[in-house]
Amino acid sequence: MTRTTEGGSVGVTTTRTARLFTAESPLVLASGAELGPVDVAYETYGTLAPDGSNAVYICHALTGDAHAAGWHEGDRRPGWWDNLIGPGKPLDTDRFFVICSNLIGGCRGSTGPSSTDPATGAAYGMDFPLLAMADFVAVHRALLAHLGVTRLLVALGGSLGGMQVLQWSLDHPEDMAHAAIVAASSRLTAQNIAFSAVARRAIMDDPQFLDGQYAQQGTNPDVGLSIARMMAHITYLSEDAFTEKFGRSPQGETTNGGFGIDFAVESYLDHQGQVFLERFDALSYLYLTRVMDYFDPFSRPHALAGLAASPVRYLVLSFDTDWRFSTEHSLRIVRHLEAVQQPVTFRELRSPYGHDSFLLDDPAYHATLRAWFDRALEVGT
């Protein structure tokens, strides 16, 4: 692939944690349930302008975290969206103030099902309340208040991140001037839900899952979680990407013709599954994927009503080989927004790499983001 990343790094970054809700003043979830305390892990890059007009919120995807850019001490890889964020990059940290936080329900520093329930002194497990997309948004808004940001220049997200941006812009359009929704969906298809269902079944049927009490028992549903990741990973890449990367290459010098890891692609998936265990929690996987299954913001009555008073400038992007959230998903979002006269820019970008393209530095993709961000800065909040 052509590497077009220009510009520098934000350098060494630190993930900070803010307690945004407490047991006394809990987060009231969309379901009516209460959650407190709520801690949120976040990072920021760049400097907030004196008039607060340059804030960009990054919403991460299913397995992302607050560490979007720069380096943590000792890491071999930079943050997950480092090719986009940094001095001179499309999200130029010399000009933009960038915020990225870890989702609640996650496991990368924010409160989630494996956090300790202060009421019991043990991990929540399956007692953790079910979440909705609006709950992620409520916590993002609380973090903004904590940081003293009153209005966003841009909210940006890919995949599940784009779904948060969509929900946020519909429910609180006054919070933002611009919204960028990349490789996302407003409503999962039966096929999307089916993949998630099999992933969850793999986790929950793992004998080590123990009804979600695995942490207390000092074990982990490794087999189920790694299978879930292996399968999901197949949906993140296109068939061509797999062919280009592995073809039918054998893994070793000799193949046994048995049922081991004979092909390079098998080894790759096995590796993806194994490294995932080090950084992701099985319960978080259940909770976060379920939020996606139920997401259907346009089905609500008057879903788009708020945009009339506070229009948002939208950017909706898809990738032609993304079969997890195909272009049709993005066009559905575009249709709804255009129908209520919101200014929408839409592009289907060409990339051979499938859903994961939104994390890569494809030249046309990054040129599009750069042009749109530069214009957003001129328009202002």
Partner: protein
């Protein structure tokens, strides 16, 4: 900020046909100069449709909302009567299904502004008489690299308007130098290198 835009002559003519404050759909919006002009000077809101990658990028940079889609595909997703004016400037001749595009335009807006090169212009006719395909300022392509798929004279085009129950409210014809012609009837079909039509569906 973007400097105030100086419009190409034919685009200025098109812009003059758009009422201030109206909602405009610009099919084949290029780099968005018409919409930017209408948004800045005439308080219009609008949406562009364009497929050329460099033009799309320029429109984005200029702050013009643009759908990077084929015009036929974009049109079918747009609700009935959802725009005041729909513009198609120098693009109809590149459409595989011009009659479909015009019918869809009539569905989504009550006012259509269509600008076209005239293949019936006398110099084009002379080129053909000399045994050569027309090449001119309006049609600066050779037959094998032209984006133009459909070649029409003003007379043929007006027949199609009739067939689609599109009423010609105004017709502006002009020379290859952009000078307005004061001609009516069939003589314009000979003398005009291009034309701008303002149409309204008979409803």
């Amino acid at each position: 900020m973007t400097a105030p835009t100086q419009l190409r002559l034919d685009l200025q003519l098109v812009a003059d046909q758009v009422f201030a404050g109206s909602r405009v759909l610009d099919l084949g919006c290029g780099s968005g100069s018409l919409l930017a002009h209408l948004m800045e000077r005439k308080r219009c809101t609008g949406q562009g449709v364009e497929i050329d990658p460099d033009s799309v990028l320029a429109a984005i940079r200029r702050g013009v909302p643009v759908l990077d889609r084929r015009i036929e595909d974009a049109l079918v997703d747009i609700a009935d009567d959802s725009y005041d004016t729909v513009v198609l400037s120098r693009t109809l001749q590149t459409m595989l299904r011009p009659e479909f595009v015009l019918a869809q335009m009539a569905r989504v807006a009550e006012r259509l502004v269509v600008s076209v090169p005239n293949f019936g212009w006398y110099r084009n006719r002379l080129r053909l008489l000399g045994g050569r395909m027309p090449v001119s300022k309006e049609i600066p392509y050779l037959w094998y690299n032209s984006p133009n798929l459909r070649f029409t004279t003003l007379a043929d085009l007006e027949d199609l308007f009739d067939q689609l129950h599109l009423i010609v409210d105004r017709r502006f014809t002009y020379t290859e130098h952009g000078r307005r012609l004061r001609m009516y009837g069939q003589s314009a079909n000979l003398m005009a290198s291009a034309a701008v039509y303002v149409l309204r569906p008979a409803r």
